[in-house]
Structure formats: C-alpha cells, structure tokens
C-alpha cells in the first residue's frame, strides 16, 4: 500500500485520539495544535516502516507520547489554562452554576497536569483514553506494576488536591 493511503488510514482512525492526547499535555491552545502537527509529520515519515510488531494504535500512541514529552521543552510557551466554551446568550441560574463547576474542574485539571512530570502526564493521557494497564505498559515501556502504582498515586493526588481547593463536592 502506498504511503499516502497508509497515512490516510492511520489518520482516519486515530486523529481524534492524537489531538486529545495533545490537549491533555498542553491544554487546548496553540501548543496542542503544533504538537499535533508534529505527531502527524512523524507518523507520515515513518508509516512505511511500520512492520506490525505491535498494533497500529499502540504505535501511534507511542509516537504521540514521545513527541509530546520532547515537544514541551522545545517550546517554552505556557499551556493554555482556559478551555473555550460556547457561550449561549443567557443562562438560567442552575445552568450557570453547573458550567461554573465544569469550568473550575477543567481549570483545576489543567493546573494539575501542568505540575506532573512528562512520564506521569503521558500515563494520565493514556489512562483517560481508557487503555488498560498492559497497553499503557507497552506504550511507555514501564512495567505493569509500575503503571498501576503510578496511576493509583496520581488518582489519590488529584483527589487530595481537589479536596484541599474545593472541599468534597
């Protein structure tokens, strides 16, 4: 199969996932878009070398995580803390409260992610993609038990930090 076709196929099935990973690393701003472009470029340049030693999805996750880890340091731009919301003309009070909560959660999540190390950021991104421990281990090269311990630690930490900041709601 030609490179273009292979690339189109890979893109069709994984484009959304790649962008979600970028957004978790950098927030939904310019950095995420740049990293996304960089990932697509790496995929395009190497897709012919993909020999099927692992699933295509795993291969793409690896590229995404590795590019995001190294991309951050190349570009010192701060990740965007603000997630764009589509604002309606007016909101009823309950809805407003809900959106405010939602906004707080997203802001809190971005702040939390910004403080994590590159490796933990990668694990959170993969965990939120609903990957199991074995798959995360294949992508990161960490042992399954290490992945489990780290995810557990991160889950406890995010809960703890949230409670410190917002109480138990």
């Amino acid at each position: 199969m030609k490179r273009d076709e292979l690339f189109r196929e890979a893109l069709e099935e994984n484009q959304k996932m790649i962008f979600r990973v970028c957004c978790r690393f950098f927030g939904p701003g310019e950095n995420a878009k740049d990293a996304y472009q960089d990932i697509l470029l790496k995929i395009w340049m190497n897709i012919e070398g993909f020999r099927g030693e692992c699933q295509l999805k795993t291969w793409i996750y690896r590229i995404s995580v590795n590019v995001c880890i190294t991309f951050r340091s190349k570009n010192k731009r701060k990740s965007s803390l603000f997630v764009p919301f589509s604002e309606p003309a007016y909101r009823v009070p309950d809805e407003e409260k809900l959106l405010e909560d939602e906004e707080n959660k997203l802001l809190f999540f971005r702040k939390f992610m910004d403080e994590l190390s590159g490796a933990d950021k990668a694990l959170v991104s993969l965990y939120l993609e609903d990957l199991d421990t074995r798959e995360m281990s294949r992508i990161t090269g960490l042992s399954e038990s290490n992945v489990r311990v780290r995810i557990h630690r991160i889950k406890s930490e995010i809960k703890k930090q949230w409670e410190v900041e917002y109480g138990t709601r």
Partner: protein, 199 residues
C-alpha cells in the same frame, strides 16, 4: 472529584473544529501536501551538504595534483580530513531520527538521551584520528611553505602545533555552546522525565 471524570468527551478532539470531519479527504490531502513540501526542504538541505563536500574536493584536488611528493601528502591529508570530517558532522549532527519516536517511552528516552549527548566516547574515537589527519596535513603544508623563510624546523613545528591546538579548542568550545543552545533544554527535560520514572 475523580481522575475518571476527565475521560473522553471533556477534551476537544479536532484541531480546527472544522466541518470536513477527522481524516476527511480534503483535510488529509492538505496535510500530506504540506508534509511533502517539508520533506522536499529536508532533501534540499542534504543536497546542499553533499554539494559543499564535492566543492571542497574539487577546490583542493588540482592543488593536490600539482604538488611534489611531500606537499601532495600534506594536501591529500587535508582533503581526506575535510571530507571525512564533513561526512562525520553530517551524520553526527542530524536531528533525532523519526523511527525512534515509535519506541516505548522509556526506550525512546534512553536513545534520545544518547543521541543528544555532546561528544560521546565514540565521537572522540572518530574525532581524534580525524584531527590528527588534518593537523598532520596542515602541518606539512605550513612547514614546507614557510621553510623558504627560515631553516628553523622546530620553531615552525611549535608555531603550527600551538595554532592548531588553539583552533581545535576554540572550535570545540563554539560547537559545545551551539549544541547547548540547540539541544540543552531538550536533554535536561529528558533527564527530568527519566528521573521521574525512577521515582
């Protein structure tokens, strides 16, 4: 509040929010086009380096051919040193190869760290003989040319050695600075991630 609250659905999943849909033909076509032009630019860079190497060879070859025994050895060594040095620089200073990005993160970090170190042991193994070749060739040409003005061979040799050593030190210093500027931050980040993996 749990980590699971942030699973799919809370993040945008298209870079532009466009209507063509992810992986849509027009979008993929545009991306492929831009990548093709990027690849062509990369190829042109390689071509420039190859052209520079050939030009160096062409410039020095007629001088090398016209010389007598001892001078032809000197020029021959200089040409060999330049060409081999340029080939070495081209190979050594290439950016991270794309293929290593598809390795598991831990392996990727090790490989990337290894690639980004300035002057590894293997580099010294190549650079020292290369410098000896260049230094000897340059030394022969320098001493033979200046022996017309003085018969003091030792003085010429000392001048050449001091000049060449200072030149090498300067070149290494500049390369190191340049390397730091280009790869220092990335290397530090890789160290940070590697440390965090060990914790």
């Amino acid at each position: 509040m749990e980590l699971d609250d942030f699973k799919k659905g809370r993040q945008p999943d298209t870079p532009s929010g466009g209507t063509s849909g992810p992986g849509g033909n027009s979008e993929a076509g545009g991306i492929i086009e831009s990548f093709r032009s990027h690849e062509n630019k990369q190829r042109r860079k390689v071509l420039y380096i190859v052209t520079a190497l050939i030009a160096l060879g062409i410039i020095y070859t007629p001088i090398f051919v016209r010389q007598n025994d001892i001078m032809s050895i000197g020029y021959g060594l200089i040409i060999a040193g330049f060409l081999l040095g340029a080939v070495y620089l081209y190979l050594a200073y290439k950016p991270l190869p794309g293929s290593i990005y598809s390795l598991p993160m831990a392996d990727f970090l090790n490989k990337a760290e290894n690639k980004l170190k300035f002057m590894k042991f293997t580099d010294w193994l190549i650079v020292i003989p290369l410098l000896l070749v260049l230094g000897t060739g340059g030394g022969i040409v320098f001493i033979v040319r200046l022996s017309r003005y003085t018969a003091n061979f030792s003085l010429l040799l000392v001048i050449w050695v001091i000049f060449f050593v200072l030149l090498v030190i300067f070149a290494l210093h500049v390369s190191r600075k340049d390397w730091q500027k280009e790869h220092g931050e990335l290397l530090r980040e890789i160290h940070r991630v590697k440390r965090s993996i060990k914790n």
